[in-house]
């Protein structure tokens, strides 16, 4: 290892040491908003907020696969990645478990809109078969995991690429940001639905943020690393498809 990466490594170790020291164990854990735990008005609101993205996503998907059928392979891959990662309930520093989302990879490869479809399919599977999340809260959960996450990840990717053109770093940031943003939005959704009696929305936001977002930080890092891992393999075996996306082929990596 050269001097620069030694320093970088030391920095990382230091940051994590502080992080582990500062975090007190709690009993809080959760994944997505549970069935029936959003008041009817908010449940409907988030459904309405989510549906336009879903329909735009479907339209984007049909166009994309019609113009570039070879992208179906990458689409399947990104969907499968979300499927695997959202099944992994990992222990976190808050003494509770939660799972990554896996939506950053697809957002980078295909753009954020298609993920609103694949992400919500995964959530539907979990709501129906695992009683995990729910049907009434599916709109809210899909908005956080399948819309807000991918869009934030996509923005992070574009930003890092613009700043330094370092692809792996950009992919890492996209995955980690998409993961974290999902749970930040979940906290916001619960906070506006359940404002605290003293302190209002902000106090609730801190409370739910402590449950969801803090737990999620190391998982976001894990997801970022796993995504770069898969990205490296993809780069090695399928430069063809990836370069197709890079050139912004019709229906490729664009909004």
């Amino acid at each position: 290892m050269n001097k620069r990466s030694c320093w970088r490594f030391a920095w990382l170790v230091g940051i994590f040491a502080v992080y582990f020291l500062l975090n007190e164990p709690g009993t809080a854990e959760a994944m997505h908003i549970m069935e029936g735990f959003l008041p009817v008005g908010w449940a409907v609101f988030w459904w309405l907020a989510f549906l336009p993205f879903f329909f735009l996503g479907v339209r984007k998907l049909t166009r994309m696969t019609r113009d570039n059928p070879e992208l179906k392979l990458l689409l399947g891959l990104s969907g499968a990645f979300t499927f695997v990662l959202s099944a992994l309930k990992m222990p976190s520093v808050t003494g509770s478990s939660s799972h990554p989302t896996g939506t950053g990879l697809g957002a980078v490869m295909l753009g954020p809109l298609p993920m609103s479809v694949t992400g919500s399919i995964v959530l539907l599977f979990q709501a129906l078969l695992l009683a995990h999340g729910g049907i009434t809260t599916l709109g809210a959960n899909a908005f956080s995991m399948a819309v807000a996450g991918p869009f934030a990840g996509y923005a992070a990717y574009k930003l890092v690429m613009k700043l330094g053109n370092r692809e792996k770093l950009a992919v890492f940031c996209a995955a980690a940001v998409a993961d974290l943003m999902t749970y930040v939005v979940t906290s916001i959704q619960l906070a506006v639905a359940f404002p605290s009696a003293d302190g209002g929305v902000l106090a609730s936001m801190v409370k739910f943020g402590g449950i969801f977002a803090v737990t999620q930080i190391p998982l976001a890092v894990s997801e970022g690393l796993l995504t770069v891992l898969l990205w490296n393999w993809l780069k090695a075996y399928s430069s063809q498809e990836l370069s197709l996306l890079k050139r912004g082929a019709r229906g490729g990596n664009t909004l």
């Binding site: 990458l74 499968a80 695997v84 990662l85 222990p91 009434t136 359940f194 739910f208 075996y237």
Partner: protein, 98 residues
């Protein structure tokens, strides 16, 4: 083979991120949705969930379905990577012949 080492290091980091909390944090690591539920009832004690999950599965079945979910996804990822690798190998072979 620099990339190979980097990949291994990243895998190691992911494993450490999972194992370290288990070793150093004294928590329950429960997977249920009880905590957010608890926080909600703390903020708004009067709140009653207005909709029940359609099916409450036994824990064993639930873990089976989670395993199934991961297995299906991993299968598709493995298939895709294998397909891409096979395609690339074939292409290399063709390039050598010509």
């Amino acid at each position: 083979m620099k990339n190979k080492w980097k990949n291994l290091l990243m895998l190691l980091a992911v494993i450490l991120l999972v194992v370290l909390p288990l070793l150093f944090v004294n928590g329950e690591f429960g997977g249920a949705d009880d905590a957010a539920e608890g926080a909600i009832t703390e903020i708004d004690p009067a709140y009653k969930p207005w909709f029940k999950p359609l099916a409450e599965l036994p824990g064993e079945t639930e873990s089976m379905l989670f395993a199934l979910q991961a297995a299906i996804g991993a299968g598709v990822i493995g298939y895709t990577l294998g397909l891409l690798k096979g395609r690339q190998d074939r292409q290399k072979l063709n390039d050598q012949k010509n």
